[in-house]
Symmetry: C2
């Protein structure tokens, strides 16, 4: 089969097919050839005809069934994949194709997984409803912070920041993506001490509080750390899903710890940022959900990260919309967030969101506890449809935050 | 500290610092601010001043110590990282920074790891010399093939292709990146049957032969498969390192199987292809070496993949040059290779290379065995400095290959 033979615009995808949407920009070949080339390289074909092929193999060919400008859709027979093996699936559909010399750009914009493949993965254990039940917060947006500075803080100071955030009204306190088990703040000591202060904050506030400790490490060690967290009555673990990798995440999820799993996406923008090449964040969101995480960073549409509001909404849809019985996942808004941005954030996300603010809380001139109060006040006023400036008249923490961070 | 405070052009990096080379293209801010922003976000800083920082934390700041046009160098104190934890290191230096709104593009072009960090990883068990010893081939380039078609072939046909390649003169036969344990060719059956034919090919040729079976899967299953391979006297395993992920690779390497580990890089070009954004393949090569693989695909500089010869040479240097006692790794040339390209390939790679050809062997009109002979003939003639066309006068398999694949 030549590349063009992989194009069949009359083909009607089967329910069991996996469907990919690509943006394709050919280099020196026709779009049809480029489209067929992507289907070939990601299924059964290669650059030349081989003597070793068999007629029965051609039944497994992927088919380009739609070409719309530079946007194409490819259907892959499910037989091409191993169930429950994310590495295998991605090595086909998001593997060699990006490196083809005949393509200037190639972007995997979306994947539609067939039910049978989805069900071969674990999916989230808790999801949005499970998290809300655990935290006893049925409706409002959750408030999280990241302990800052992100690295360098000694354990005793780390603990104080966490405690100050919880008593101010934070539901979640989380490590930053690059804190794991450094000498200045070792994992076990941090775990034990921070959870002591979580318990204290719970007693003092009467609210449920959770600590998202970063367990990212090689698989064995990550699982050992997850076990430690569970043994110490931690309820959450956070993982840098992309630098850890899919195979370790699947094995972690298989262990079925009683831990909510929070996914940080450090590194994603190395391949999601260019809108013409790489892989969309929406795709990563779907995979994280299928593999079985309960929460995922999806950008914010405002703040310090690059994504547009439209992209963020698409990411949220990937996490929250119906998907073959797989639980919806909590989108986490993060990256340069502060109270002034809350009304806009709620417009983008709705209320099923975790608003994660680091600098926007610890940067409040009145300190972390006040910074958290300001964030909760911003949420309260938004939910009540009261303008922030109005609400700030009687809430000084919010007033201070609005004074520091005005919208440009 | 503001972003600019992370720039100190007078700073002289310590031997223990980790050094990164970035290409930075700011968006709406100065280059100095952008450079400092990258150093901040990848170490201890964030977008705003926080009340929670401590004077002792600033000692851990990363420092931009060189700015040369858009190319910058950043030094990271080793204390920022957890030894032996690749996910942790990458979440810092190749994490959030790519997503900063203030940067149009950011590319991590190189990493120089300090000896102490390198030594906290396993490194390759075999490396080039170990592989040469195993295969009893002290000097010449190794010849490998990939069973094609890449997917869809039933086990009995897969086995025949492998056998035909070995008896023609292939040293290595490998699975393709997306073959794992599909119904048409299940892992265990394929392992057992292919190794039977390997033994037969060894008896018939008197040469050592190896089968690189793809064990890519979730960590537990991958380790189970590695154990199976070892139990069946397999000598090699191949892994799709990027879709599997660093944490699983480290745990696999920790098991210290008596298996040569072959790294396929499926998916790399989603972030390596754009020369202004993402991560260079050279960086991936260094990481794969440090984590402990023995062979890695590095492109070819010719053929169907996009990389330039210069990039390929840099990848080879990352694998083969001295690196704190870590064994050199075999570069694997692959992607649209055929006998006509061999003289050029040897100019680019030298002789410490594995020439991996799928279509260029199985596409030989005389079949796989002839295709392999043609490849070996092309290598023999190149090593003897005889022009291919001259050598082909007395070697019909090469003649047929040259007729099919002329250089454009």
């Amino acid at each position: 089969m030549k590349y063009e033979d992989y194009v069949n615009l009359k083909y009607e995808p089967k329910e069991t097919d996996l469907i990919c949407e690509f943006f394709v920009e050919p280099l020196g070949i026709s779009l049809k050839e480029a489209a067929g080339g992507v289907a070939a390289e990601s299924s059964i074909g290669t650059w030349t005809e081989t003597t070793t092929t068999k007629p029965y193999v051609e039944e497994s060919a992927a088919k380009v069934f739609e070409i719309n400008g530079n946007n194409i859709k490819i259907a892959y027979p499910i037989e091409l994949f191993e169930s429950g093996n994310m590495s295998n699936i991605l090595s086909s559909i998001a593997g060699n194709v990006f490196g083809m010399k005949d393509l200037k750009n190639l972007r995997l914009n979306d994947i539609h997984f067939p039910a049978e493949l989805i069900q071969s993965f674990r999916g989230p254990k808790y999801g949005i409803q499970g998290v809300r039940k655990l935290l006893k917060i049925p409706k409002r947006p959750l408030v999280g912070t990241i302990v800052k500075p992100k690295l360098g803080l000694k354990t005793e100071d780390h603990v104080k920041v966490a405690y100050s955030a919880w008593v101010g009204g934070c539901d979640l306190v989380k490590d930053d993506e690059n804190l794991s088990n450094q000498k200045f703040n070792p994992f076990e000591e941090r775990l034990v001490r921070t959870l002591e202060f979580r318990d204290r904050a719970e007693r003092e506030t009467g609210e449920k509080k959770v600590y998202l400790i970063n367990i990212s490490a090689k698989t064995d060690e990550m699982i050992r750390r997850a076990q430690l967290v569970q043994d110490h009555d931690g309820r959450y673990a956070m993982i840098d899903v992309l630098t850890v990798g899919w195979s370790a995440l699947q094995t972690l999820r298989d262990r079925n710890f009683n831990l909510v799993l929070h996914a940080h996406r450090a590194g994603h923008a190395s391949f999601t940022k260019n809108s013409k090449h790489g892989i969309s964040m929406k795709v990563i969101a779907k995979i994280v959900r299928i593999v079985g995480f309960d929460q995922l960073h999806v950008g914010a549409g405002v703040g310090k990260m690059f994504e547009t509001k439209k992209e963020v909404v698409e990411n949220c849809n990937a996490l929250r919309k119906k998907m073959n019985g797989i639980k919806p996942v909590f989108p986490v808004a993060s990256g340069g967030l502060h109270p002034t941005l809350v009304p806009e954030l709620l417009k983008i996300f709705g209320t099923d969101v975790i608003i994660q603010s680091g600098g926007g809380i610890h940067g409040n001139p009145l300190g972390t506890t006040a910074g958290t109060k300001a964030m909760r006040q911003a949420i309260d006023s938004s939910l009540k449809n009261i303008p922030l400036n109005e609400y700030a008249k009687t809430h000084k923490e919010l007033r201070v935050a609005l004074d520091k961070w005005s919208l440009e």
